[in-house]
Amino acid sequence: MDVQPMNENNHYAIEARNLNIYYGNFQAVRDVNLTIQRNKITAIIGPSGCGKSTVLRAFNRMNDFILNSRVEGEILYHDKNIYDPDVDAVQIRRMIGMVFQKPNPFPKSIYENVAWGARINGYRGNMDELVEETLRSAALWDEVKDDLKKSALALSGGQQQRLCIARALAVKPEIILMDEPCSALDPIATLKIEDLMRELSHNYTIIIVTHNMQQAARASDFTAFFTMAEDRAGIMVEFGSTNQIFTRPRDQRTEDYITGRFG
C-alpha cells in the first residue's frame, strides 16, 4: 500500500526549496525541491557524484564547513529558512543530528559518549537515566549495560554505529541524517540498524543516503532518486513512495538505475 501523500494536517519535517549548491564555480546541486515528511524514513539514492550527500549535509548546514561552498534557495525547518543570517547553525545541528558512514565514537567510555552531548547542552536531569534511556532507544542497552565504563572503541562496528546513533539521540533532536550508515557494517549489523531506524521513526524523522538500493527499498517510506545532469550538477529526478519508486518508477532514468542498467 502506498504511503499517504502529505497534506496540510500532516506537516513536513524539513523542506528544500529551489536548492542550489556550489563548490566554487562548480554547481554540485541544481534546483532541488524536496519535502521530507515527519516521522518517516526518506532515502536518497543515486550514483556517485549525484549530489545526494551534499543535499543531506545542507539539511543541517554541515556544508558550512566546506571552503568555497555556497547555498542558494531555502531549507525550511519550522517555517524558517535555516540559512537566514539570524539562525544559529549550532542550534540547527542539535535539532538535526547526523550519523556518518564510518562509526566515529569518541575515544572515551560508552557512558561518556552518550553523556557528552547532553552535558555540553547543559542537561541538568539524571544523567544515568538519560544514558540508559538513550542506549535503550538505540537498541544497545542490553549489550553494554554491564560495560558502560569500557572504551567505546572496544565495541564491534555495528555496536559503535548504534552508539553513534545513541550519541545523536542524547541531545533530543527531531531529525536524524544518516550518510551511508551501514556501508562499513556486516549484513547482520546492517539489518539491526535498519530495524532500529524503523523503531526510531516513531519519534524521529530520518533521512538516509545510501548506495545500497535494497536497503532503501527495505528500510524507507519515501525515496528520492538523484542523478547527474550533463554538466555534472546533481539533480533530483524522481521522488515518491518507496513502494512506487521500486515497483513502478515514472522516469526512465530511475528505472535504469534501480534495475541496474545505469551506465
Binding site: M213, Q214, A217, F246, T247, R248, P249, T254, E255, I258, T259, G260, R261, F262, G263
Partner: protein, 226 residues
C-alpha cells in the same frame, strides 16, 4: 550494459514459457482431435503429456524463484518475473482443460452421442490462436496487443452458445443418452474457460509493461450459461 547475466537468464525462462505454451496449444488441439475421431489412445497420450506440462510448470516456477532470490529484481524486472509466475500457472491450468477433454473421450468410449464438433473445433482453433498471440505479446511486452486480444473471446462465447443449444436439443431428443451428452457440456465449458484464461495472460502483459494492474473487460459474461 551491466546485468547481462540477468537479462540472459530472463530470456531463458521466457523461452521455457513459450515452450510450455506450445505444449498446451498442442494438447488442446489434440484433445479436440481425439474427440472428433473417438481416439482413446490419443486421449491417453494427452494424459501423459499433461504430466510433462505439470513438471515443466514447476521447473519454470523454481527458476523464477531462484532468479528473484539471487538477482533482487526491481521495477520492470520484478514485474516481469511476477507476471511470468502468473502466466506459468495459467498455462498449467489450461493444460488441465485439455486433459479434461481427453478424459471425456475415454469416458465416452464407443458410446453413442451427438458431438457439435464444428463449433468445438472452431472454439479450439480461436482459443489456441488467442493463446499463441497472447504469449507473443507477453514476451515482447506489447500492451496494446494484449489489450486487443481478449475482445476475440466474444467469438468463443458465441460458439459456446451455439454448441450449448445443440447439446440441450440432443438431450431433449434422446433423454436416454443424457449421461453422454452431458459430457459435451464439459468439453465446451473447458474450451470457453481456456479462452477466458488468455485474458489473464493479457492482464499480466499490461502489468509487466506498464505497472498497471486491472481487469480487461469482455470475459466471463457467458459463464452463467453453464
Amino acid at each position: 550494459m551491466p546485468r547481462d547475466t540477468l537479462i540472459r537468464q530472463i530470456n531463458q525462462i521466457q523461452d521455457e514459457i513459450l515452450i510450455l505454451g506450445s505444449m498446451v496449444e498442442q494438447a488442446t488441439l489434440s484433445a479436440v482431435q481425439a474427440l472428433k475421431n473417438r481416439d482413446t489412445q490419443l486421449a491417453h497420450d494427452i494424459f501423459e503429456q499433461d504430466q510433462v506440462i505439470n513438471e515443466k510448470r514447476f521447473a519454470i516456477e523454481n527458476a523464477i524463484i531462484t532468479l528473484m532470490a539471487t538477482q533482487q529484481p526491481m521495477a520492470r524486472d520484478l514485474r516481469g518475473m511476477t507476471a511470468m509466475l502468473e502466466v506459468n500457472t495459467e498455462l498449467e491450468r489450461m493444460g488441465d482443460y485439455a486433459k479434461g477433454i481427453a478424459k471425456v473421450v475415454t469416458r465416452l468410449g464407443e458410446g453413442e452421442v451427438v458431438i457439435p464438433i464444428q463449433e468445438i473445433e472452431k472454439m479450439a482453433e480461436i482459443a489456441v490462436s488467442m493463446l499463441h498471440r497472447a504469449l507473443g505479446a507477453f514476451i515482447s511486452e506489447n500492451s496494446s496487443q494484449a489489450l486487443a486480444i481478449p475482445k476475440e473471446d466474444d467469438q468463443v462465447d458465441e460458439l459456446f452458445n451455439q454448441a450449448y443449444r445443440k447439446i440441450i436439443e440432443a438431450m431433449i431428443a434422446n433423454p436416454n443418452l443424457i449421461d453422454h451428452t452431458n459430457l459435451m457440456l464439459w468439453v465446451i465449458h473447458n474450451l470457453e474457460r481456456l479462452a477466458d484464461r488468455v485474458t489473464n495472460i493479457c492482464e499480466r502483459t499490461v502489468f509487466s509493461a506498464t505497472g498497471e494492474l486491472f481487469e480487461i473487460d469482455g470475459m466471463d459474461e457467458d459463464d452463467a450459461n453453464v
